[in-house]
């Protein structure tokens, strides 16, 4: 065994940015090194890999059968009017409206008395999120809802869905509250993050300010059990007070340091994850 050839010092780009210890304070891509003033090969590849995961998350289709099996409860499969991913990305309005066949399916399924809660699980902008996180959230949340004496409709699994798709479905079933677990817009370091949107008195045309959102549900963010407990608390409180949105405080605090996310004024025109 001969020793591998010594790498000349010239090719240690990180020596030019010797402050990697600052990474203890942030996940930002700091102290990346430099070659000349350009990004070293290793960092170019890491960035490319992260972007690839996020891109694939946007374009991966939801495996409906596997999800239904993982949820292990009664489910009904519905879809929006967006036929393909490219339609979905260009036309958010189509993703907010049920396909006529799905609307019909729900109309004939309407039961008496109507359910208190409709739960929808959907792909949104990352099917991976629903695939990986939704079952764990519901496994904690559903027993809590049942214990609180609430009637829960069969869980809807929806494809090519935007947040507001649950409003129409809930209105068709006569549910008082919609809970939508939907894949969030993938970030470079979080391709599989799930968002949960809670809406009291859901109906087509409901404003986003009337929703509460629990976001960043993933193992490295808010874990499924903690998310389920927050959602249970919000659900019970929303039904008791008959409202959701900016006036409904999230008692557990949460990402916004005690402020529900819906109150946060976006100071940039944000890309719609809805």
């Amino acid at each position: 065994m001969s020793e591998s050839p010594k790498v000349p010092d010239l090719f240690r780009p990180e020596d030019l940015t010797p402050w990697e210890r600052l990474r203890q304070y942030t996940d930002a891509r700091i102290a990346l090194g430099r070659v000349g003033t350009s990004l070293p090969t290793a960092e170019v590849l890491k960035f490319g890999q992260a972007h690839a995961l996020a891109r694939d998350a946007v374009h991966t289709e939801l495996e409906v059968g596997a999800l239904a099996e993982a949820l292990a409860v009664d489910t009904v499969v519905v879809r929006s009017q967006a036929a393909h991913r490219s339609d979905y990305l260009r036309r958010p309005d189509l993703g907010r409206t049920l396909h006529p066949e799905s609307a019909h399916l729900l109309r004939v399924q309407r039961s008496q008395p109507p359910p208190d809660i409709l739960i929808m699980v959907s792909d949104g902008l990352s099917a991976l999120s629903a695939q990986r996180q939704a079952a764990a959230v519901l496994h904690t949340l559903l027993p809590g809802l049942h214990a609180a004496g609430l009637r829960v409709a069969p869980v809807l699994i929806a494809t090519q869905a935007r947040v507001a798709l649950a409003d129409e479905a809930a209105a068709l079933l006569g549910a008082r509250l919609a809970l939508h677990l939907i894949g969030e817009r993938p970030g470079l370091s979080s391709p599989d993050s799930l968002g949960a949107y809670l809406t009291f008195d859901p109906r087509p045309g409901t404003l986003d300010s009337a929703r509460n959102c629990v976001s960043n549900i993933r193992p490295a963010g808010l874990n499924a059990g903690a998310a389920a407990r927050r959602l249970l608390g919000l659900t019970v409180e929303a039904l008791r007070r008959g409202l959701s949105g900016v006036e409904l405080k999230d008692s557990d605090g949460g990402l916004g340091g005690g402020e529900p996310d819906a109150v946060r004024e976006p100071q940039r025109p944000r890309p719609a994850s809805d």
Partner: protein, 476 residues
């Protein structure tokens, strides 16, 4: 001429009619997902060319008469009309839109004539002419413009290129933000502004961030300004509490309704502008007449095509025209910086790299023609059909066009806002290819602080103030 004749054109054997001026502008626009989403775009490539032909023959004076949104309905329209400078407009008053494009590309349009013309141009005129311009025209015309602004340094000089240092953190952790800020300063970034997008929207959090950045600036003696990009009302409250506010930030849009969606109106901006100016925190500069004058450009605005449509307040305007009207709002307050956040809004407005590149060039050119210090957040989201290569293309084109500033985000990855922008390394790519230094006062400071030597990046010596800041933070 009746409107039916005015707003029509014949291509070959087909006669194309357009409903009104808004319709001509929208259908003459290059293809954009947002205009299609709004149902405003041309229905065929031929119709688009007919609209461009029609537009090319419309007189510029028409835009002063046929107002896209009625005067009585919209305060942005009133601002545009009431602030129009007829004397400045005179040199081009006899031209139609097509002739105006020719004039802009001709020797008659120089840095001096364009500077004098700016108050005579309306957003609708510049939006219209851009629709007749190819990408190279947008580069060439913008390059002729020079817009200089000052607070603690001089931004926008021809042949210079600046960066906003954007050290965002998902929970506003002060040490996390400081770590990214130091990373950027070690790369010589931040002369346009060190600007944080806060995750928390409250005044206490903003004051903490403002204090952190101001302490750092004073400790290093750096000729830079800082900003926390929170709602204007929060910044006004921070000023009232005595916080060290350099710049007032606000997102602005081109219709009264869209601005209402941002929770603002012109009166609110006027109040904030006056409050920030009254602090007198800018540096003193020679005024060229033997005296000294304080840097008084205190506003930082952000815009972006599609923002009006996203709140349903576009009033039937195509997204580029609505965007240009946002620049009328911005210029009323003599901003230090205006930033079009071009690819942030998502693919339903700008679908792919081609549309993002086009929009970035349009926005930069329109802003510069109207006399604004235009920068660009060259960026994309993961659900857009775009990647780093598209950003490199737009970066190179905007550098050629003389863009005032771009963003500097560690590794181009904003971990708070969840999108990709440009990095500190990207800024050095531009410096290498084009030879552009940063703002002169900042360039001198970088050399004196050992961050650069004769303009070339180096590792500052151990014990130098910035290196010492890094060591102390690293030691925890």
């Amino acid at each position: 001429m009746s409107n039916a004749t005015l707003y029509s054109a014949t291509l070959g054997r087909t006669h194309h009619r357009f409903a009104d001026l808004k319709d001509v502008l929208a259908k003459a626009s290059p293809r954009k997902a947002g205009d299609e989403l709004a149902g405003l775009a041309a229905r065929s490539a031929e119709e688009r060319e007919a609209a461009r032909l029609c537009l090319s023959e419309l007189p510029l004076t028409l835009f002063l008469e046929d107002l896209l949104i009625p005067y009585e309905d919209d305060e942005v329209t009133r601002l545009i009309v009431d602030s129009h400078d007829a004397a400045a407009f005179a040199p081009v008053a006899g031209l139609n839109v097509g002739q105006f494009r020719d004039w802009l590309l001709s020797e008659a349009a120089t840095t001096q004539t364009l500077r004098a013309l700016a108050p005579g141009l309306t957003p609708e005129m510049v939006a219209a002419v851009c629709k007749l311009m190819r990408n190279q025209d947008l580069v060439l015309v913008a390059r002729k413009c020079e817009v200089i602004t000052r607070f603690r340094n001089t931004l926008g000089r021809r042949g210079h290129f600046s960066t906003r240092l954007q050290p965002n953190h998902p929970t506003d952790d002060l040490r996390g933000i400081l770590a990214s800020t130091l990373d950027g300063l070690m790369f010589g970034a931040g002369d346009a502004v060190i600007g944080v997008n806060p995750a928390l929207d409250n005044v206490d959090a903003c004051v903490r961030l403002l204090t952190l950045l101001d302490d750092l600036r004073q400790g290093l003696g750096a000729p830079v300004q800082s900003c926390v990009l929170t709602h204007v009302t929060n910044t006004v409250q921070a000023i009232e509490r005595g916080a060290p506010v350099d710049l007032v930030f606000q997102s602005v849009a081109g219709t009264q309704g869209a601005n209402a969606g941002f929770g603002i109106n012109l009166a609110l901006l006027t109040e904030a502008h006056a409050a920030a100016q009254s602090l007198g925190r800018g540096s003193l500069f020679a005024d060229g007449q033997g005296g000294m004058q304080r840097g008084q450009n205190v506003m930082y605005f952000e815009t972006g095509q599609g923002s009006a449509l996203s709140s349903g307040t576009h009033a039937g305007l195509d997204q580029q025209t609505a965007e240009a009207r946002a620049y009328a709002v911005a210029r009323a307050y003599s901003p230090l910086l205006v930033n079009t956040v071009v690819g942030f809004i998502g693919p339903e407005y700008l679908y792919d790299g081609k549309q993002i590149v086009r929009a970035g060039l349009e926005d930069h050119c329109c802003g510069k023609l109207l006399g604004l210090p235009m920068g660009c957040d060259i960026c994309y989201t993961n659900h857009a059909e775009a990647d780093s290569d598209d950003m490199d293309t737009l970066l190179t084109l905007l550098a050629a066009a003389g863009v005032t500033f771009i963003m500097g985000v560690p590794g181009a990855d904003d971990i708070m806002l969840g999108y990709q922008s440009t990095s500190f390394h990207d800024a050095w790519y531009v410096r290498s290819v084009f030879g552009y230094p940063p703002a002169p006062e900042f360039a001198a400071w970088l050399d004196s602080a050992g961050i650069t030597r004769a303009g070339q990046l180096q590792l500052p010596p151990i014990g130098s103030p910035l290196r010492e800041q890094v060591r102390q933070l690293g030691a925890g």
